[in-house]
């Protein structure tokens, strides 16, 4: 037929063959050429259909990322060159690419029947949750139910949970895992400046001439910020880095001066440094006269009192306590005070101890007294461990003692303000503070709390003295909303709700420098998983609070929340949802839509909320003066003894995160096993422990098995392990004493013994 048509057009056989030859030659030459775009320019190894601006799922650095999506799946992740991290990510940030597609994702609701979790419908699961909550509230009052959230929930989710429980149900039993990591920093910021959250920003790194890094292994826990510190050192080699850490961590290896202090003695160190500031004439008298007040406990003090106070902490006197040389303390003090600009970083090393708030206050005092504050590069800066502990939990007031934007449950005026902003009748918000984290689980243990909704966290593994609180969870009607199952906590769940995670839902994070930024929904969640906001909205509806919880989308909740912030000194009403979609986040305070955001708070001219033209306006305090708190070094809560002769301290490795519910399932990280306990060769020899031997670490509370890693990176008398592994669960061993001010537990030190496996008593 084709030939006939050709003949009818007058083509000869010869012409036909010529045509075919031309076409085939063209196909042979042009085909591969057009397909091979590599001939013109390099091509990406991973083809991506679309890129989406977002934020990393992991630590509190809050790195900007670009998510590559193809065929409805996340296929690639890269650092966002326009964000503060300038395109850099750490291994965890890069592996955001894989986190949605690991094993053990929770796919459908489950309800416990006869001791076993069985698949259920959303209707059945949520019906049961609402019924149990309603029954408990009716029978035992609102304080018989609780919410235990996370610094990994979006701001909209924590805000909604806080509002539902405090304004709707009428209980302040709203807590979250930030109590375990950031409470001491928050408590200190509020007591010193009157308002929570750091006053500086990441840009200060590029202007600092001295870094004082205490209790923070930045190189592994905030690696992108550490790279930025190293950049500063590389650009300006005379920049000094001082690291205070009992271990010779990767961070300490990059320091000019490493103070390998004994755990739990840093309050003495900071007092000794202040002693040196005073003795060396480094105290900024302008600060003392115009911008500072002094306190000790409930009493007012003055600068002379401080001088007398630190006389007891001369470096020579504290050297033995801290286990470091007096001259190193003096050198650290000199470098801190004499540099053009000093920036401090700290995190869990300061926070997770029974004197966490005192230690935090003293580091802030060091900056205030020397005037190393409020200038580019001069600032005290606490780092957060989670992507949204600051904005989600601290700023929304989603803690038992708190209300939004720095308000306190204990303050009647604060309660009334929130009642007005939320449109509640007077007295709706309970005057009784809720249970802080450990008290909450103790209340579960006693049976005072009957129902608890746990969202986005894993307390069965992360609580100190974990074994104690497991029966409490078992006893309570526990609802666990999580993206993974099983976890250590879901095994105690009566109802498991499958949660969408990260880019499967939309929401706002806030990181260490007060930057609010948006994570968009770019892919669908697996199975029947729903966002935590959807779960909370349904619970609100089923408990009859749908009128109160009227904002029903991430955008609506954000708009409500930013407008509420306008009535406070946390004002970020200028950060509209539109801006969040367009910009790489904005630092609050940001009181109007045209404001670019604030790098340095309390500095008139920079902070839109600061008034006057003086050096500072510490507007969080009634008298406009920041408070220098006098604090004494206390003896350890659990001293070492003949039976428990070593001090245990805990931490992290670069590649894993928290309780490994995410990173533990990533294929790339399977060979990185946080199963070791580090011990100094001298201790190992004395105890007959070989490198690589199986050992048991034991305390008065419990024990866990590890592989010994004999290493000089740890000082004699101290052992170190991570809290990542559920199999090697160190929180069976850690101490659940806590800071009386912040209620943050003391994970960073307790007395332990360590023995080769088989030689120790198995019962703890």
């Amino acid at each position: 037929m084709l030939l006939g048509k050709i003949r009818s057009n007058g083509l000869t056989r010869r012409q036909l063959l010529q045509w075919l030859r031309t076409i085939s030659t063209g196909a042979v030459v042009v085909g591969p050429l057009s397909a091979c775009r590599e001939l013109w320019e390099r091509q990406p190894v991973v083809p991506v259909e679309s890129w989406h601006k977002a934020v990393c799922r992991f630590c509190g650095t809050g790195c900007g990322i670009q998510i590559g999506v193809s065929e409805g799946r996340v296929v690639d992740v890269k650092g966002d060159e326009y964000a503060h991290n300038k395109g850099r990510l750490c291994i965890k940030g890069l592996l955001n690419r894989d986190i949605l597609y690991t094993r053990d994702r929770a796919l459908y609701p489950m309800v416990r029947h006869n001791g076993e979790l069985r698949r259920a419908s959303w209707e059945e699961a949520m019906g049961l949750v609402a019924k149990k909550f309603r029954e408990a509230i009716e029978q035992f009052g609102p304080d018989s139910v609780a919410f235990y959230g996370s610094g990994q929930l979006f701001t909209q989710e924590s805000y909604t949970a806080n509002k539902l429980f405090k304004a709707g149900i009428g209980t302040n039993n709203v807590e979250g895992n930030p109590r375990l990591c950031m409470a001491s920093a928050a408590s200190a910021y509020i007591s010193v400046f009157g308002k929570d959250e750091p006053m500086g920003c990441y840009q200060d790194i590029e202007a600092a001439d001295c870094f004082f890094i205490a209790g923070s292994n930045m190189a592994e826990c905030h690696p992108v910020l550490w790279e930025r510190v190293k950049d500063r050192k590389s650009s300006r080699p005379e920049t000094r880095i001082i690291v205070v850490d009992p271990r010779r961590t990767s961070t300490a290896k990059g320091a000019d001066l490493h103070l390998d202090i004994l755990p739990g003695t840093d309050v003495a160190l900071y007092n000794a440094m202040i002693h040196e500031f005073i003795g060396g004439g480094f105290v900024d008298q302008d600060m003392v006269e115009h911008y500072l007040s002094f306190k000790e406990g409930d009493s007012a003090r003055d600068y002379q009192d401080l001088k007398r106070h630190v006389n007891r902490y001369a470096p020579k006197r504290v050297a033995a306590t801290c286990g470091i040389a007096a001259k190193d303390i003096s050198t650290a003090a000199f470098r801190f005070a004499s540099s053009n600009s000093t920036m401090s970083f700290w995190t869990m090393g300061l926070n997770q101890q029974s004197q966490g708030t005192v230690a935090n206050r003293l580091v802030m005092a060091m900056h205030l007294l020397t005037g190393q504050i409020g200038r580019p590069g001069a600032t005290p800066f606490s780092l957060t461990g989670q992507p949204n502990a600051g904005g989600g939990v601290r700023d929304t007031g989603a803690l038992a003692h708190a209300l939004p934007n720095g308000r306190l449950v204990a303050n009647p005026r604060d309660r009334r303000e929130m009642e007005e902003l939320w449109g509640l009748p007077e007295g709706q918000i309970s005057a009784k503070s809720g249970y802080h984290t450990l008290a909450l689980f103790e209340a579960m243990e006693r049976g005072d709390v009957k129902c608890c909704l746990v969202m986005g966290t894993n307390p069965a593994q992360s609580l100190p003295n974990a074994e104690r609180y497991r029966p409490a969870m078992d006893k309570t009607f526990l609802v666990v909303a999580d993206a993974f199952h099983p976890t250590e906590t879901t095994q105690f769940a009566d109802v498991l709700l499958p949660a969408a995670m990260w880019a499967e839902k939309e929401g706002v994070f806030s990181q260490s420098e007060r930057r609010y930024h948006l994570v968009p929904k770019v892919v669908d969640s697996p199975g029947e998983a729903r966002s935590d906001l959807e779960i909370l909205l349904e619970l609100a509806e089923r408990l009859g609070h749908e009128d109160l919880i009227s904002s029903r989308t991430p955008e609506e909740v954000w708009e409500e929340w930013r407008k509420i912030s306008a009535h406070s000194k946390y004002n970020f009403s200028g950060i509209t949802y539109e801006r969040l979609k367009r910009e790489r986040g904005v630092l609050w305070p940001c009181p109007d839509k045209s404001h670019p955001g604030t790098c340095r708070r309390y500095v008139p001219g920079e902070d839109p909320l600061a008034h006057g033209n003086a050096r500072f306006d510490f507007y969080g305090q009634p008298d406009g003066r920041a408070v220098v708190w006098l604090g004494d070094q206390h003896n350890p809560k659990e001293p070492t003894s003949a039976e428990f002769p070593l001090v245990l301290t805990t931490g992290r490795v670069l590649e894993h995160w928290h309780t490994m519910t995410i990173t533990g399932k990533l294929e790339a990280l399977q060979e990185i096993r946080p199963n070791f306990v580090q011990i100094h060769p001298a201790d190992a020899a004395r105890l007959g422990i070989r490198d690589g031997a199986e050992v048991i670490v034991r305390s008065r509370r419990g024990q866990a098995a590890f592989i010994a890693q004999v290493s000089e990176t740890i000082r004699p008398g101290v052992v170190f392990t991570t809290f990542h592994s559920a199999k090697h669960l160190i929180n069976r061993v850690t101490n659940d004493v806590y800071d009386p001010l912040s209620k943050q537990p003391e994970y960073k030190l307790c007395a332990v013994s360590i023995k080769p496996k088989g030689t120790t008593n198995a019962s703890a």
């Binding site: 320019e41 091509q43 650092g79 300038k86 395109g87 990510l89 890069l94 790279e227 300006r236 790339a668």
Partner: protein, 240 residues
Amino acid sequence: MRVHNGRLARSRFRLVLSLLAFNCDRLLGATTAQHGLTAGELMRGVGLFAAIAGILILFLVEFLWRPRLQPSTYRWLLFVGLLLLPITLLLGVTTTLFEETKTVGSCASCHVMDPFVNDMMDPESPTLAAEHFRNKWISDHQCYACHTTYGVHGTLAAKRDGFRHWWLYVTGTWNKPIQYSGSYPNSNCRACHEGTVKFEEVKSHQALWLDLETDRLSCFSCHGPPHPGPKEQEVSAGNQ
């Protein structure tokens, strides 16, 4: 005496070459004095020699010597003048082009590269390029060293990139900000860093090994930025 003669011969050879070259300072300048004659420099001289010799031969053969030449000699000289010397010239030109475009100066000849070259030479810049330059980790041809994959394919790919960059520049069709196309070949980094204790002891490198080997992840993801990012490029452009 023989040594002296050898030096004399070499210096005469250089003199001849430099006379042939239009920019003799670059031909036999400081680089030659320090490192000896490179293949590129030699071929540049040879190419120029071939060009002049070819023109000279053709002129002489066609206008002066033709009546006196045997037909076979005439054909041979034409063969030399029209084929052999042009081929030599082509080789010379190609080699010179290949060599010349390895230099930082060549990359810097397009003004759009200024932010990158200026940053690399900035003693306070924290970028990888600046750090490698400042510490002399790459002694010469710094742009080319990191932007050329090893092997013949790498050289061709680099020339392709160079040609594309040139094309985009002369046609004014490049996009701002300038960004790297495709996936960067990590083998360029691994060639020096892999196998060192510092590299091997990093567990993240072991965990991501497959991704790094296949360029699914770039070394710059964690260790960058290699050059000024889009924001810094804008600032740099604004300052000029």
